[in-house]
Symmetry: D2
Subunit: 339 residues, 4 copies
């Protein structure tokens, strides 16, 4: 930890802080400069948090040396983690595609869509039973009935189901139906939910919040891993910026950053990341090219009738074409679309 | 609703859409242009949502005429709503200040801080028992014990307590202790929580999310009001932007915007809005000047020892001075600091 | 143009505005609704600009139907424009790579770097003689001497040179040395400069500003094209967002958006787009995958000694490896790296 | 300067860097830690820039201790600078209001507006002769004729004129007419222009760029001051964020930040900062409350006929009312509206 003092801090103030640093077992360092005095603390600086130095009225700035996350970092675990989602390995050579509608709307819709994505080569099935919607006047999901439909279609197609959990109180229910939990962008910092998921044995697909930095995302993953569940898959799905040409700004820079700093697998959701059906395919290809481990794509058997996100859902034939085209990009990236 | 067709939409496509508009009881309009054909739908366009026109492959853009929120808008209710928080009216002539520590840490800390803010003239007491924290390694709050301490200090000082609820499962518990619920920025779109709060009889202070537009905030308030609880107080607390000089960017433009478009009261949190102790006072004054109905301010009896947010907490004497200085700004704004 | 009136506008106010619309030769439309009255104007709505309706105190909102740009749009010109940069076609089947140092620093540095990128298969040579730097204490470029060195290395390697022009007064000078002008992010809305470049016969690589929407970028291009120079290449180089993990947020969504709405070629600068050497290669691959026409990449013969942007410059061997790896991505995208 | 090494840097790598630090006359420090080795450099770290350590492949991060700006900081000059604009002191007890139309459109418009703002109590006259506009199809200003009109109205009213300069080539011309140069948001990093203004004897009102941090703004001011012109007035006018409810997000946090870190005066432009006529008055009051030294406000004798920015221009009677209301806020802030 590097501590920069305000110009009016005296030598005595510095000494007081240095002895505090020593008191928690770290090695203190005194570096007087011409315009500012700088202090250092050598050792596991996470123990320094208890001193709350950033609140000190004579301290200008505190700069950590280490990342605030720990178990999710590559420093902690240098090799890639591979997460098993209902038999599908995520994070290895296989480039994994989870596809399906935004929301489970009916048995018919789900069955038609499930079979279409299966035939096109998808590896997993997505579909929301609980839908967080900006407006109270929008469709909010079918709840448990939706989970049952999802499970039935999963069994029929052999595709493991992933579905969103929006609330700590639903974790037990969702766990019975899903091969992996999905945590949506709006819940990325619902720490109660994360803590509970950390106690589950099912994997978690954790989507980045709209205002979350990659560091925030890694810290949210740390909540889950620190509780004992190592099976977290990160998901980039676009952040909110000033640009309104697309629904969100897909931040693909995050992919190499995460690959560099963390051992967890990371997938991309180009459907929410663009919000525009025509842009899903190019951004899916970009995701594979920059090193992502998979995709989460919205497909609907009849997008015009979709109760949510129809404008960003692929038609089944568009999805089938995209899956075909992805093969050569996967090869170029040293990945494979099939096992 | 204004519907702009893609250049390749035919007259027949337009007719089909027009008859859909008619089928839900709205008056359709056909406006052929030189480069684009535009359709209109006159009437309560919220019923159009069921048609999901934005998913239509031949529709370029759909522009609503009305706001997506309804009951929280001034169109619905033209006069200012005044919300009663444990006897303190928010939204009227009184400029209301809720003050206290970020988190309830101990009986001693809370009592000392509560008495200090009472003496300085605060109208309500804040203090968190459940703390959502970015890192799993940070202090997470005292839970029910914290609520009990808060209640005790509230009774001693006569200041109504406001405290955060982070999870639907906690609503009943928090309701027993709080004069008003606080919903934090990270939970602004926790729709399950909002819906439950809409069924409570206690007021809700709803903080704007870091990536939420003012329209998102008003829609979140609509969730609560639509469920039957009219007592919502909006709170601007800063949004996330590229600027890192301050913790957040306090968006005071939101105050006149909300005052213009909604009848709900709106308060400002300059502590989170700046993240810097020295900037809390100037921004508190700015809030009053641009029309806010009150403030939410972090004060700690000993900020250097604070377990969270110490760097943005005022010392008791700083708070007392600020309260003195606010009087003349309140008068200039046609408000009063005392009843 | 769609014009939404405020609730207090009377029928007479509407009639007045309708007659104004008629007076400029457009067909007016009157659409009274239950909560708002909406007016329409059919025809080339750009002539409406002269009425400044957005300033009208009784008008709530004005929504254009057409894009504000014209000649750069696909509506105007449906086929891809191919721009010739010193013999290199940009915008066709060839995937074009312009490479070289951020700044021309010396004859030796430029010659070594130029030969390295030539051998690796680059199609053009970049190098700045005028450097806009945030701090007045940073290296500002060699000026005309830099242009002369660039030209010499270009002749030696056969790679056409592209270089930045920062000021209207320099256009004539730069034109003598460059195969294409580069307009930097900070000058994207230097309209005097754009207008002058519109009168040149040399192509212009126009980089997106840090706070510019894609629409702003297309409007800036319109300045050049409207003056008579059709040879504009757009360049995505990252925008400024709250994310600080990378220097900028590379907005690759912009590539399919631009390809859809404009006929101009678009290239990507992954060096500025990430600011991190290790992330340049993955994002270069992502650019090709999502449909870009080329790259602008910083390479330095000795990045540790670079006078600017060393942390994002590739070493020559890294660049050579990247060029090799790009081939299979180019093929997958239906492009070619060689002519 | 604090230098954090990558985990794979050896002791020998560290020694090499330490000797480089010593070679430029700074005192090197070696701080080995458990997970990272940290190096320090004590002394005027600005000389370290020449080493370009951020490009070093074994350096993870470089953290400066001092601000990158120097002469504009309070460390350099602790007392408030007062800038004289044609006899009007900016930065002292007087709260200064510059008012007038966005653009000079005609002699009549300018005269009517000038007299109105004079009567209402404005201290200076604004009006643009050169207008940077997003679209090439918008009004671009009257040029020299506009400057002449501005000068005439200034002489008639006794209000010193401030006007925008958009291009280095225009500096000499504008200097003959203006009491102060205005540099617009789009030119904040037009370093050639800034350097030239640094050689002028006339004051400069420097507006913050839409994507500029406050640090960027201070660095841009440093360009002017470093060239010898100490008379810079900073101007907050809103930044670009995801919020679209207002044209820009007025970042008033910047006011206390600038007052704390710099000795230069700072004013606020609530017209561009909101883009909405009705929000100008509340934000003008907020500006005074949080410590700004003055305002830049758009007033037009007939906003409905304005050739630019009509929707954010005040009517003369609105401006007169605002000036009346500002008096009590100025008093509360310890400032005065009259000399």
């Amino acid at each position: 930890m590097i501590i920069i003092l305000k110009p009016d801090a005296s030598r005595q103030d510095a000494d007081e802080i240095l002895s505090q640093i020593e008191s928690v077992g770290l090695k203190p360092l005194y570096m007087p400069g011409t315009e500012r005095t700088v202090l250092g603390a050598i050792g596991d600086e996470r123990v320094l948090a208890g001193l709350h130095l950033e609140s000190h009225p004579l301290i200008e700035r505190v700069t950590p040396i280490l990342t605030p996350y720990k178990q999710v970092s590559r420093d902690w675990h240098s090799q890639d983690t591979i997460v098993d989602v209902g038999g599908v390995p995520v994070g290895g050579e296989l480039f994994v595609v989870f596809a399906g509608p935004c929301a489970v709307e009916s048995r018919e819709q789900m069955m038609a869509t499930g079979q279409a994505v299966k035939e096109a080569g998808a590896h997993g099935l997505r579909g929301g039973a609980y839908k967080p919607r900006s407006s109270p006047y929008s469709f909010q999901g079918l709840g448990v009935e939706g989970l049952q439909i999802l499970q039935e279609v999963s069994q029929k197609t052999g595709l493991p189901p992933v579905t969103e959990v929006v609330e700590a109180g639903d974790v037990n229910t969702v766990e019975q139906y899903a091969a992996a939990f999905q945590v949506g962008a709006r819940n990325m910092q619902n720490f109660r939910l994360l803590t509970l998921l950390g106690k589950s044995r099912k994997p978690v697909i954790l989507k980045r919040g709209m205002a979350a930095t990659v560091e925030d995302l890694l810290l949210a993953a740390e909540y889950i891993v620190a509780e004992g569940n190592p099976d977290v898959i990160l998901c980039e799905r676009g952040i909110r910026t000033f640009e309104t040409a697309t629904r969100n700004t897909l931040d693909l820079n995050a992919i190499p950053f995460i690959k560099h700093h963390s051992h967890l697998p990371v997938i991309v959701d180009p459907s929410h990341g663009t919000g525009v059906r025509d842009f899903v395919a190019p951004m899916a290809k970009a995701a594979i090219a920059c090193g992502a481990d998979g995709l989460l794509i919205e497909v609907h058997n009849d997008p015009r009738a979709a109760l949510s996100d129809g404008q960003q859902s692929l038609y089944p034939d568009q999805f089938a074409r995209l899956m075909q085209e992805l093969h050569s990009f996967a090869r170029a990236a040293g990945k494979s679309m099939t096992r």
